[in-house]
């Protein structure tokens, strides 16, 4: 226990200083959430590049949770879906059902180029389409994969903090 406290004291603060908030038009539903956005991540067929960046965005360095965004374990607990990857045929129904399971008001973030427009997988035989073809998308984060700063910045747009 003592060594843990020592470690905390020695390490100090590792999070980056908060970057300036970009001004952008937030979706109308985001205002209702009042600065606290619970997010369910759905991997609709990603190569796991975006997942690494999400993990990084919620890690101690970028620490997205200090802006009010939080990852949860069930769409029933979520306000927003964070969808990565092109929507594969196997995940199409699951994504739709996950979207239906989120209580209203609900938001969908398409994270990464694949989620936005299928990226390099466009036209592949196993791909049903981009996220926007399956469920309505509110926010898009470009990049292959997007950098943690971009993810945090998009999430700040939703939380407004």
């Amino acid at each position: 226990m003592v060594s843990l406290w020592q470690k905390i004291r020695k390490t100090g603060r590792v999070a980056e200083p908060p970057p300036p908030r970009e001004d952008g038009a937030a979706p109308a539903a985001a205002a209702e959430l009042a600065g606290s956005v619970q997010i369910r991540h759905v991997d609709a067929g990603s190569c796991n590049g975006c997942e690494l960046e999400i993990a990084s965005a919620f890690g101690p360095v970028y620490d997205a949770e200090r802006y009010g965004a939080r990852l949860v374990a069930s769409p029933r607990h979520a306000d927003a879906l964070l969808v990565t990857g092109p929507v594969t045929r196997n995940m199409e129904v699951a994504l739709r059902r996950t979207y239906e399971a989120v209580p209203q008001p609900r938001l969908v973030i398409a994270l990464g180029d694949c989620a936005r427009n299928c990226g390099v997988f466009a036209g592949a035989y196993g791909v049903a389409g981009a996220v926007g073809d399956v469920v309505p998308v509110d926010v898009e984060v470009p990049g292959c994969p997007p950098e943690p700063e971009a993810i945090v910045s998009a999430l700040r747009g939703l939380t407004g903090r």
Partner: protein, 669 residues
């Protein structure tokens, strides 16, 4: 001729008539007539027992009925309590049995043995002489054994259970026989009346108590003599399971009370600490095994061990307090024990009958293959839920009141006692608390896994509701549970009188709506608790209605991880639900698991099949019984060499044995 005697005689006559009717009548009408007559006998026994409890005592001696000793019968309040309980269980079980006649259970033997079993159980608490008691006890053992093996031609397990039961019950009988015979010899007479007045030396009294106590404990399913109970109770036909588990095991408690507190007049404190310790061990061990059991009736059998353990905690505490001088507390502990006997009989009858309904409808007792019975068996499900509530000792169930009384007597003993109190009482309270906690998990499992969600097996998917006679039997037991839960105050003054009479103290519990305990500030009011709970439930539902209505509603699919549709394979099974408990109590239960990985022919890295087997064996059986059984088997194998088939050799054995005996007798004489 008073009411007690008249209705007792009528009950016995009706049992006999039921047995004769079962032998004489054709198969079509047999179950109905025998069942109705047995139920009437049970009702008469309830009247007789109630009259005896209310103070109409009775005793009689019929010297011509049994050679040498004659039949001595007497009913006092203590015997009356057990007589009335047995009668009430018999009513429910007999009515239920009219419809529960599949698989040859309508045969002459089974239908005739059941009323005789009831008659024997009615005779045990009414016996007032050592000879009469032993005859009634043995009759009870034999008739119940016949009923346990009733279905042995269909299930080999019933035969095996019968063997275990036969051996254990007769070893127990031998212990009781030795103890009571010694008691009668020391007292110089067979009648209980004589024995009470006789002065028996402390050493002899202790030996008698230990011998009879072991015999009675084995009948009550007390650890470590319980091994027959979880085998025999599940294998018997369900109404017989109910009679055994709710009425017959009580006779073990009755025996300990009668011999220890009444005939031997109390005895030293260590007797009762022994009883209390055995009770606490049984309560914890029984409920832990019930918690990990996946067989519905076996679970209920283990739960019987648990409840008898709780009763013996009360009995032990009563004897201990009486021996250390605090008679008021002793009376309270005894009241708690007697009330728990009655409560346990009520809910265990209900639960075993409901389990029988499930078995009748689905053909299986395996909780892992049940589930989803709520839609197809709504009445049985509701009745089982009521029984499960009572068995988990939560308010407003009836088990709560007796456990509360028991805890009050134990907790309030601390300020009065010395070191022994300070060590024993917290341990006993802890055992009861642990038991109650695990009991909740057990019955949540039994009800949730067995009756809710989706059916996991063929039998459960095609289940059907039971016939009206079976439902009527269960409804009667459920009504008894509800009555005991809401208005135990109607019964408790009589029990308090009874317990006071046995201990020699004034009545420990008074009050009409609110129970007041003699000398203790605590009060409880089961009726008000039930009313408040109902009111709170209504309030919560109303608030939910009001607040939920203010938001827009939307139909949503049940969340199934997006994969759907949900199948029965995704459900909790009894085994998986109990697995964490098995891990937590790993030291006691020692769950065993086996994993066989069978690789494919082509490569050792490709797995073709994985077989997983998990099992929780009874450790006491494994450690204490199996070596003895193995030794017997080895002795038997060794003895086969003596019998090689030669007639000459057998004649020589006879000759030498006779000569040897004669020489021995000549030397001794």
């Amino acid at each position: 001729m008073n009411l007690t005697q008249t209705s007792f005689a009528l009950a016995l006559a009706l049992c006999l008539a039921a047995a004769l009717a079962a032998l004489a009548l054709p198969r079509r009408t047999r179950p109905a007539v025998a069942g109705a007559l047995t139920a009437a006998a049970g009702a008469c026994a309830v009247v007789s027992g109630a009259a005896a409890v209310a103070g109409q005592g009775w005793s009689a001696w019929y010297p011509e009925l049994l050679p040498l000793l004659g039949v001595r019968l007497a009913l006092d309040p203590l015997g009356g309590v057990f007589l009335a309980v047995t009668g009430a269980v018999a009513v429910c079980a007999a009515i239920y049995g009219i419809g529960y006649t599949r698989h040859g259970l309508a045969g002459r033997g089974v239908q005739a043995a059941l009323p005789l079993f009831v008659a024997a159980m009615l005779l045990v608490p009414a016996a007032a002489g050592v000879g009469t008691f032993l005859v009634a006890w043995e009759l009870m053992a034999i008739t119940s054994l016949l009923l346990v093996v009733a279905e042995h031609h269909r299930r080999a397990a019933a035969g095996e259970a019968g063997q275990w039961y036969a051996v254990m019950t007769h070893l127990g009988f031998a212990a009781i026989l030795a103890g009571l015979a010694a008691l009668a010899a020391h007292a110089g007479g067979d009648a209980f009346e004589q024995i009470r007045q006789a002065a028996i030396s402390p050493v002899a009294a202790s030996l008698i108590f230990l011998a009879t106590g072991a015999g009675f404990a084995s009948k009550a399913g007390i650890v470590p003599l319980h091994v027959w109970l979880p085998r025999a109770h599940p294998e018997a036909p369900s109404q017989v399971s109910a009679l055994m588990s709710a009425a017959m095991v009580n006779m073990g408690v009755y025996g300990i009370l009668r011999v220890g507190l009444d005939l031997l007049g109390g005895g030293p404190a260590w007797w009762w600490l022994l009883v209390l310790g055995a009770g606490a061990a049984s309560a914890v061990y029984g409920i832990l095994h019930a918690a990990v059991s996946a067989d519905l009736k076996r679970l209920l059998g283990h739960s019987t061990t648990e409840n008898m353990g709780l009763v013996l905690i009360g009995v032990g505490a009563a004897g201990f307090f009486a021996a250390s001088g605090s008679r008021a507390l002793a009376a309270l502990a005894l009241v708690a024990a007697l009330l728990h006997v009655i409560n346990h009989s009520a809910f265990k009858t209900l639960l075993f009958l409901a389990a029988g309904s499930v078995l009748h409808a689905t053909g299986t007792r395996d909780l892992d293959a049940l589930g989803g019975l709520r839609e197809r068996m709504p009445y049985t499900t509701a009745l089982f839920a009521l029984g499960a509530l009572a068995a988990s000792a939560l308010p407003p169930g009836n088990g709560f009141v007796s456990e509360w009384l028991l805890l009050q007597s134990l907790v309030n003993a601390l300020p009065e006692g010395g070191v022994r109190h300070a060590v024993t009482m917290p341990l006993a309270v802890g055992a009861i608390a642990l038991t109650a906690g695990v009991a909740i998990a057990t019955f949540v499992k039994a009800f949730g896994v067995g009756f809710l969600a989706k059916p996991r097996g063929e039998g459960a998917a095609t289940a059907h509701e039971s016939p009206p006679s079976m439902l009527a039997g269960m409804l009667l037991a459920a009504a008894a549970c509800a009555g005991l839960a809401l208005a135990p105050t109607l019964l408790l003054p009589y029990l308090a009188e009874t317990a006071g009479g046995v201990i020699g103290a004034p009545a420990a519990v008074t009050g009409e709506v609110t129970l007041r305990l003699g000398g203790i500030a605590s009060t409880i009011s089961p009726l008000l608790i039930a009313c408040w709970l109902a009111a709170a439930l209504v309030l919560v539902l109303a608030l939910l209605r009001v607040f939920a209505a203010r938001r827009a509603r939307r139909e949503a699919r049940l969340w199934d991880c997006g994969a759907g549709p949900m199948t029965a394979r995704m459900e909790y099974t009894a085994t998986s639900f109990a697995e964490p408990l098995g891990r937590v109590f790993d030291n006691v239960l020692r769950p065993e698991s086996d994993i066989d990985v069978i690789p494919a022919k082509e490569s050792a890295y490709i797995v073709e099949r994985v077989r997983y087997r998990a099992r929780v064996a009874d450790r006491i059986e494994r450690r204490a019984y199996e070596p003895v059984l193995a030794a017997f088997a080895a002795a038997g194998r060794a003895a086969t060499r003596l019998a090689n088939g030669s007639v000459h050799r057998y004649l020589a054995y006879g000759f030498y044995t006779l000569t040897g005996t004669l020489i021995l007798l000549a030397v001794i004489a």
